[in-house]
């Protein structure tokens, strides 16, 4: 099976999954015993029958469900997600404004998590049952056990309140955001050549990213450790050593590469969950990202926003899985043939 065929097959499966999610979410929103027009107009607005009729017709809610579904899918395919009944802005614009903030945070959190997790995982495996392993284990358990909002408040207390490092938000008060190019402050400020803004954004992203990454760090570290330990016991490692290969080559090329299958699977899903699940962290750090938007949409029964954000998260997970699948083939070519 060629790599291209493998990837195409995965993409096709991904599209089917996304379509399934789209349909499922549409059905669920229809099953909720709540009139979206009432949500939109409020109790006062509902008393104006002409207004109710107008909004119902505008949203095609007077049509049969199958017709509404076709209308919805058609709009989605054209990239039209409608207007949010809460923010009143086009949902696509809302997402475009908030998505980069979440992606930037998630990437940073992911990097922090991996920078800590993989080395500590390797160290724990290599120095198994030594103090460094015990220390790493304790840190991992603490990281996994603490809820993100608690970490967030704790970090704010220590790093912001006590040490005065950086508070919530994406920039310090009085600091003007960089010109919108990518929506990533770290990149946009560099493009604009505003290094003060860059360092300020860097300071501000550190704490939420650490909060978001800390739980993942513990889990990934333990996963890397156990996977590496298992591989280090394999015969081909002994063979490699007997061949007189350098220990560095044995661990990084022979052992780690084979041990990474499980952590990479987790990391792929982890990145997806960071993007879709940064709700609490974004709330604690007043981070204007997608997580906050999702919460608001759910509380407001904002159908267009719920449908769009769910779809975006489904796409994120599907793409994450696709990337993981492709990474498999690079790490372990046998996967392609399987």
């Amino acid at each position: 099976m060629s790599l291209l065929y493998y990837i195409l097959r995965r993409i096709l499966l991904g599209i089917i999954v996304i379509f399934g999610v789209l349909t499922l979410v549409f059905i669920i929103t229809k099953l909720i015993p709540q009139n979206p027009v009432a949500v939109f107009l409020g109790t006062e607005g509902m008393r104006d029958p002409a207004l109710v009729k107008q909004v119902t017709e505008q949203w095609k809610l007077d049509r049969p469900i199958w017709e509404q579904y076709i209308y919805y899918v058609g709009n989605v395919l054209r990239g039209e997600f409608g207007r949010s009944s809460w923010s009143r802005g086009p949902v696509i614009q809302d997402l475009a404004a908030r998505f980069p903030a979440t992606v930037e945070l998630s990437i940073f959190a992911f990097i922090i998590a991996m920078c800590i997790a993989i080395p500590t995982g390797i160290l724990s495996a290599v120095y198994r049952d030594k103090p460094v392993d015990h220390f790493s284990r304790v840190l991992s358990v603490i990281g996994i056990s603490g809820p993100p909002f608690w970490w967030g408040i704790l970090f704010l207390y220590i790093f912001y309140f006590i040490l005065g490092f950086a508070g919530s938000g994406r920039l310090s008060e009085g600091m003007t955001p960089p010109m919108h190019v990518t929506g990533f402050y770290l990149i946009d400020s560099l493009i604009e050549g505003r290094f003060d803004t860059f360092f300020d954004a860097l300071k501000h992203i550190f704490l939420p990213a650490l909060t978001l990454g800390i739980g993942a760090t513990g889990f990934t570290s333990r996963l890397t450790r156990s996977a590496l330990l298992e591989v280090l016991r394999k015969d081909y490692i002994k063979t490699a050593r007997m061949k007189g290969l350098k220990e560095r080559v044995v661990i990084y090329r022979h052992a780690l590469r084979n041990a990474l299958i499980a952590p990479v699977t987790y990391m792929g899903l982890l990145f997806g969950s960071m993007l879709g699940g940064s709700v609490l962290v974004e709330t604690v750090f007043t981070w204007r990202g997608m997580g906050q938007y999702i919460v608001t949409a759910v509380f407001a029964t904002d159908y267009p926003a719920i449908l769009a954000t769910t779809l975006v998260i489904a796409i994120i997970y599907t793409v994450s899985n696709l990337v993981v699948d492709i990474l498999y083939t690079i790490i372990d070519p046998r996967v392609r043939v399987a």
Partner: protein
């Protein structure tokens, strides 16, 4: 070979050196960044020469609590705040969980829900709250942009004179044309065509009451009604009645192709583009929607009614930033990055009182929590059961424990700070268990074999309002009702599901609901709509034949109130209606919320009102 040697050999010396350099550089950069002074927009400025003449901050209303901070008696681990000691010209304000931080509330004053926040700093109304009364914790409406007014004997024709010499932020003078345009824009524009374009649906619940608006001369307008609107001057203080710069807004009206080329009446300009068409003491400087809102002092501001002798606002800039988390707001306030934080949890206000660098304010607010009951079916159909529930409650305990002292008792609709609010505030004594049990027995609800008289759902919403948690009140109500063997089952639901139950009178249930009340400017509208047109959750003669005479009396009093010759008489009649409702009706107010505000101790003459910083902004200074 030991595992240690494996790993040592796994990395070269060069790699180890690179890693060490990266770690050392990161630590160094971290220390450097941590020691950098926070970028603030503080510059020195001379203290204004005009000192406010009326700066009474002591409270006279018994329940108004101004909590002044004292030096902590216990050792509290704190750090020295980084608050600059120089005089600041920028006031940074934050409201925890502010709704404007999550939605695209722009700058159109006719958005319902914009009445708080920064809108009153930019736009003004013909009538507004008296700032001097507000400092005493009292809510009183006075003419503002209006100079004087007269009303016909039938109360259907209101003639209002507008002050001369007032300028909009654009430089255009305020005239009767602007008033007429603003009112017509809100009430008679065809908003329905662009309903889904608006941040909130236009609540055109009163057009039947309004005949029209007429210009008498350049500075006189006439409002003609065909039905009396009680407390009409209070109503005119609603931001919905804000006066916009007609020339500017007209110039920015445009058609919306998405809505069949309907006119947007300048909505795009005002709301989505954050246009500024106000006369207020501050004008829009810079807005990053949902992130940061900056306003600059309007140097040509007319100065407010001359008789009030208001100072020029001290702060050149006001910045609103959102904060989601209570703890974050506390940290920001203590570090001096934010000067005023509102909507703290009541416990936080108590905790903050230990810090000398901040002060706290708990004053009367227009928000109450009501315990409501459906009256169509089930035990609550019987007025004796409803009254027994009201009698069984311990209101003092509810406010001290569930409200953590952040709310006070008020059983009627009028809340502390409002004229004549005491009338029905303690209609029921606390926890009259024996009397309640007797009533329940009389009503035919004896204790059953399971130990309860009956079971009933109590619906609550999960999100706190103004730092007060519904669920805490709900759980305590449950505990208190258990003493009379009523099993109230708290059910916490998100807003859409919650209202699905609330607006189904056939379901026998109770719920705790927040309400805004007199003299909030939208109350006259409620009086005309909820009170005047809707059966109250089944509270009518059909479902309540045994108290038909009381209900008849209630509606007679309601009509008397509407047609009363003045608002003072209306208030008296209102309390009579309230007495009937407390005795037989479907509600009792269980808590009157207080504002929970923390502010920097360097702020002098600070107070917080239903309009938040307006009109406190004329008095507040920085020392």
């Amino acid at each position: 070979m030991s595992s240690r040697t494996y790993f040592k050999k796994a990395i070269t010396k060069v790699q180890a050196a690179i890693i060490a350099i990266i770690i050392i550089a990161s630590i160094g950069a971290g220390i450097y960044l941590a020691t950098l002074p926070p970028p603030t927009a503080t510059v020195t400025q001379t203290v204004p020469t005009t000192v406010p003449t009326t700066t009474v901050v002591t409270t006279t209303v018994p329940t108004t609590t101004v909590v002044t901070t004292t030096v902590p008696t216990t050792t509290v681990v704190t750090t020295t705040p980084t608050t600059t000691t120089s005089v600041t010209d920028t006031l940074v304000v934050s409201v925890i969980g502010a709704h404007w931080a999550n939605v695209k509330f722009g700058n159109d004053p006719s958005n319902d829900g914009a009445k708080a926040t920064y809108i009153p700093l930019i736009y003004e109304t013909l009538f507004t709250y008296d700032p001097i009364s507000l400092q005493k914790g009292e809510l009183k409406i006075i003419p503002w942009l209006a100079e004087s007014y007269s009303v016909s004997n039938d109360q259907l024709t209101w003639t209002i004179k507008i002050r001369k010499g007032i300028k909009f932020h654009s430089g255009n003078p305020l005239t009767a044309d602007d008033v007429i345009y603003s009112f017509n824009r809100y009430w008679f524009a065809d908003w329905g065509k662009i309903a889904t374009y608006l941040v909130m649906a236009r609540l055109k619940t009163m057009p039947n009451y309004i005949v029209g608006f007429e210009k008498i001369d350049d500075y006189t307008v006439q409002i003609k009604l065909n039905k009396t609107i009680p407390f009409f001057t209070t109503y005119l203080a609603d931001t919905l009645w804000s006066i916009v710069d007609s020339k500017l807004v007209k110039a920015h009206e445009k058609t919306l192709p998405e809505y069949g080329n309907a006119n947007d009446y300048g909505y795009t300009f005002l709301n989505y583009e954050f246009g500024d068409a106000g006369t207020g003491p501050y004008k829009v400087k810079k807005v990053e929607v949902t992130v940061r809102y900056e306003f600059e002092r309007f140097e040509d501001y007319w100065g407010g009614p001359p008789e009030l002798k208001l100072s020029k606002p001290y702060f050149k800039y006001i910045v609103y930033i959102p904060v989601n988390e209570d703890a974050d707001g506390r940290f920001k306030l203590l570090r001096g990055d934010v000067h005023v934080v509102s909507d703290f949890l009541a416990d936080t206000v108590k905790a903050l009182s230990k810090y000398p660098e901040v002060k706290t304010f708990m004053g009367p607010s227009p928000l109450g929590f009501g315990l409501w009951m459906h009256t169509v079916t089930g035990p609550l159909k019987d007025w004796r059961v409803r009254k027994a529930i009201k009698m069984a409650l311990n209101y003092t305990e509810l406010n001290l424990v569930a409200g953590a002292g952040g709310s006070v008792t008020a059983q009627g609709f009028f809340l502390p700070g409002m004229p004549t609010w005491e009338e029905n505030a303690r209609y029921f004594k606390d926890a009259q268990i024996a009397e309640a049990n007797k009533l329940l027995d009389e009503a035919g609800y004896p204790v059953q074999s399971d130990g309860w008289r009956f079971h009933i759902n109590l619906y609550l919403r999960p999100e706190p309002r103004w730092g007060l948690d519904f669920t805490k009140y709900g759980l305590l109500v449950k505990a208190q009702l258990a003493k009379v063997k009523i099993d109230a089952v708290p059910v916490v639901l998100q807003v859409s599901e919650y209202y699905a139950h609330v607006y189904n009178p056939a379901e026998s249930m109770m719920w705790i609901q927040p309400f805004d009340t007199l003299p909030m400017p939208d109350t006259p509208m409620y009086l005309c709509t909820y009170w005047g047109q809707q059966p109250w959750f089944g509270y009518n003669k059909t479902t309540q034949p045994e108290i038909a005479d009381k209900i008849d009396l209630r509606w007679k009093l309601y009509n008397d109130m509407i047609n009363a010759p003045d608002d003072a008489t209306r208030m008296k009649i209102f309390h009579e209606i309230e007495k009937i409702d407390l005795e037989y009706g479907p509600y009792v107010t269980i808590a009157a919320a207080l504002w929970h505000v923390g502010y920097n101790a360097k702020l002098k003459n600070f107070f917080w009102s239903p309009r938040q910083l307006f009109p406190a902004i004329f008095y507040v200074t920085w020392s």
